[in-house]
Amino acid sequence: MTEQPTRRRALECMAWAGTGLIWTVTGGVPRSALIGSAEAATGFTFAQMSDSHIGFAREPNMDVPGTLAEGLAAVKVMAAKPAFVLHTGDVTHLSKPAEFDTAEKLFGTIGLDTHYVPGEHDVLDEAGTKPFIARFQKRHTQGGDGGAFYSFDAEGVHFIGLNNVVDLKSGGMGNLGAAQLTWLERDLAGRSASTPIVVFAHIPLWTVYEKWGWGTEDGAQALSLLKRFGSVTVLNGHIHQVMQKVEGNVAFHSARSTAFPQPAPGAAPSPGPMKVEAARLRSMLGVASVTLVPGQGPLAIIDTPLGA
């Protein structure tokens, strides 16, 4: 038996709109529940939203602000009220001020703090990360000059927002860079190994599919700095689909987009918006919620189909 973490974590990922699901794992026991049902977990909860792509207006989704609004409405009525929202990047499609305006206005409607990290679509402006930081990260002390990375604490959990979209590597792989890794090492120094850590960044920190650039070239270096912690959750976006993996004490989770789905790795000649029937679209978009419950159980994250 390995050492038990000081907190037990339940992770719920739900598809929303229509037949929404919640995936819950508590103390290593996976179960599913309908959104808003009595089975929904209680405790310290936060929501993850990703890849809003405000400004995108092509098939399969001509109303991206509308589907984002639906996702936000779902967050607003969650049984376990989230303390805040984490946005894992690509808030906008083309980094245009009007797109940032729309996103800011929509997120303002839920009355919850939202903590953002940029996606590559958010830093297309000549000024790089500056407009994004000014708009969405101004209240956070930046980990480096123009870096768009920071950390904060909530309910005993240490949250780390990373930026892996500025210096993309061959094939589009994400990259953190030496300065950010040095900052991360300093940020973690002196923290107790029992502190639950949540890392959020746009491109997956683990390699999902190198051929499509779905990974972070120096992600392993960041993960090595996190090895000593008993509970590490890594939340990502970018790939517009739910994928989960557990490696030691690290649980990886990627979220759905609220804009459009992308194909499974290797299932199409290239990644990109996947054209789907209108009736299927909403089942392929979504948000996730994460709940941390005090306890002594082991950590595990497993998806189980509804009714299984």
Binding site: S170, G171, S270
Partner: protein, 99 residues
């Protein structure tokens, strides 16, 4: 398709630039060979917007967002290999080899 530019009287005309077409989330050709001094133009014929961005910390070149029908041109005076990707769809990659 891509036409390598030959240096003539030292005047390098961007109107005769070697052409890279952006289509179906890819650069065609993915590898372009030109001589030093040549201009290269990227033309987006895709429905989706795209961009051209040097792959490397020094980021030697970077286009604005190119919508359908828009193009970006750059002159390559230095010899070497210049990998690049699309800033919007980073899996799209290409390279210019300058001899």
């Amino acid at each position: 398709m891509a036409i390598p530019i030959a240096m003539s009287d030292g005047v390098h005309d961007r109107r005769n630039a070697a052409l890279v077409i952006i289509r179906d989330y890819s650069f065609e050709p993915a590898t372009l060979r030109v001589v030093a001094g040549a201009w290269v133009r990227w033309l987006n014929v895709d429905e989706a917007p795209a961009g051209v961005e040097h792959t490397g910390a020094d980021r030697l070149f970077r286009s604005t967002v190119l919508f359908r029908g828009e193009s970006y041109a750059r002159q390559f005076n230095e010899r070497g290999e210049f990998p690049y990707h699309c800033g919007i769809h980073p899996h799209m990659r290409g390279r210019v080899i300058v001899s």
